[in-house]
Structure formats: C-alpha cells, structure tokens
Symmetry: C3
Subunit: 134 residues, 3 copies
C-alpha cells in the first residue's frame, strides 16, 4: 500500500502513525512485521516521540548543526539539495515494526514520522507493507 503525505516546510517531521496503523488494521494480519519506507532520496522515516512536537524540531536543528546546508557539497552543483541526501542516508528511508494483536507494537512514547528534508512537497509517497508472521 502506498500512502501519500504532503509537507509544508523545507524541513519538518510529520507524524504518520495513524495512517500506518490504518493500513495494518485493514490488512487483517494479526501478527507479523510492518515495513514503512519513504520512496524518496531526500526524506526519511524515523520512530520516536511526537507527543512533544519539539523533538522533531530539535532533530532537524541538530542535523543542520552537524551537517550544514551548502557547505561546499559537490551535489549542490547539480541539484541544490545535497544536505537532504546526506541526512536522509544517515536517518535511513525505512523502519520495520512488529505487528501484534493486529496493531503496531510500539513503546508508549514511540510514533512513526516522515522526515521531510527538501520540502515543501505536495506528494511524498510512503510504502506501508504488512507481512504475516509464523
């Protein structure tokens, strides 16, 4: 299943836990694995807390401090978004989560977030695949 996400800022963390959860429930699978992947090279998927949305802001601030935009990156000569490719590679495009009792098995403070690193983009595609376990 491909879900669609719109971003509205250059960089932001967008909570997609609810949409992922809906795909798991609609799958009818009781136990297995759920794989969530951004189908883009300038976005990432993370699992962390979104109860305080400032955590996502802090993550982006920290990445920007460690990997500054336009710091002489070679890819900026082709397409001015090298920093987004670097950060997406470090965060990784996907997360895998256990499905138990037909729902995502997450800790109390864990949610699934799309990290937009080169937005805003009207149509970010996220693959959500549910695999039945034994």
């Amino acid at each position: 299943m491909i879900i669609r996400v719109s971003s509205h800022r250059t960089k932001e963390c967008i909570d997609i836990t609810h949409q992922v959860r809906d795909v798991v429930r609609e799958s009818g699978i009781d136990r297995g694995l759920c794989h969530v992947m951004a189908l883009h090279a300038t976005a990432a998927i993370i699992v962390n807390e979104n109860d305080d949305p400032n955590i996502g802001v802090d993550l982006i601030t920290a990445l920007d401090a460690a990997i500054p935009d336009h710091a002489g990156w070679l890819h900026d000569r082709v397409d001015n978004n090298a920093q987004a490719h670097i950060k997406a590679s470090i965060l990784g495009p996907s997360e895998t989560i256990v499905v138990a009792d037909g729902d995502l098995l997450l800790g109390t403070w864990q949610g699934v977030m799309l990290v937009e690193l080169d937005g805003p983009r009207a149509d970010r595609r996220v693959s959500v695949e549910v695999i039945e376990g034994s």
Copy 2:
C-alpha cells in the same frame, strides 16, 4: 517475545546478542528474519563489534561531540533529555538480522547492542520477533 535489559549508566552500549540468540533458538525457526526493537524513544539498537567494548564508548563520545547535551534543545524545557531523543532517532530503534540454520547470520565481528541514551533504567523492554522465511 519481550526481553528485559537493565542499564547502569547515563549512556552505554549493552551487548544483548546472547539473549537475542536464545529467542531465535527457542523459536525453532530455521530460516527467516529476526527483528530486534527497543520499545523506547531514548534508546536504540545497533549491530557492531563488542569484542572491544571501547567501540561502544567511542560511539557515545562521538555522538556527544556531534550533538551536545543541553545545547538549547526545545524539548529540554519539557523533559531534560532531548539529546537522547535526537540520538535515538539517528541510530534507529531496530535492526533486522537474517536467521539461517536456526541462528543469527552475523559477521565475525558483529553483535547486537542496546544503546542506552537516558539511563540508568532498570527495565528497558526490547522486542525480539522471529519470522519464518520461504
């Protein structure tokens, strides 16, 4: 299966390869995937070497240098552990490892470690799920 891990320092890498391996063996599954996930937003799972435990110390030192504690993070106003959320997001909460011949398929120098980033904590929960392959 949920395994329990205690941490004893603010930040440390704890080898859990043996416990994960036990879950794989008890599953009776010969070939498939093993998914290991910290059910917390301030801890992570990595696969790396623990023969020299200083590698885990170096990892934490490097993360602390790149992402300093209390560097004006917004989440520190709510709960004084923003650095742990940021580092956990970057390392990621889970790793997936092939199961072959009823055991984890790891390189000679690879082990599974829980990275504690906001300890000490008496009861860190780690999900270990084994899925049968085709």
Copy 3:
C-alpha cells in the same frame, strides 16, 4: 544468498542495486521483503541516489567532518579504525526493501549502496535475503 563486493578506496559508496535486483529476480518471489546486510562492522548499507555519484562522496565528507578520524578514539589503540565502527553503527548494517511484482520497490532516485569505511577490501560479504509475503 551472499554476494561479494570489492572496494578500492579507503572510503567509498558502491552501488549494488543491480546485484540485489538479480537475487530478487532469481528468488522467483513476487511479493515480500528483501533484506540486505553488510556482514562487517566497518561497512554499512544505505538506500539513496547514485545517479550523481557525488552524493556518496558528499556523505563520506559529511561523516568525516562530524566524526573525525583518529580524534582520540579508544579503539584506535587496538585496531586503527574506530571511526569506521562509529560511522557504520550510525548508518546501520542493513536496509529492508519491499518486493513487488518480483522486483525491488524503490523510488525513482533510490538505489542500494554498500558504504566502505575501512577499505580497500577485496571481499566484502553482503547477505541478500528475500522473504515471501502473504
């Protein structure tokens, strides 16, 4: 299936999408998950763009700036490659990708790359496992 990759530089990103795709096709599995893992503690697997190979160069430059080589790492006293272990832990050893219609489900600009962090090495082993979905 274990595929073999040779690296020719100390650090480099090597596109292995074609080899991974071949394993998926030979598996005959139409829908499921493909797990790709470097069986080493000083190499990593990422999914990002390789159409402009400078993205891989930028990634390595950025990691070297954030985590300098030989910056007093304890593991350098044992084996002079602590920086490679740290970076491999951050990038992670594996990626999982959906298999759909018998092929990898990747975005237009996504490919699979081995990140060599302690090369050159004649024989890097990469596990590629394809699991059938439901």
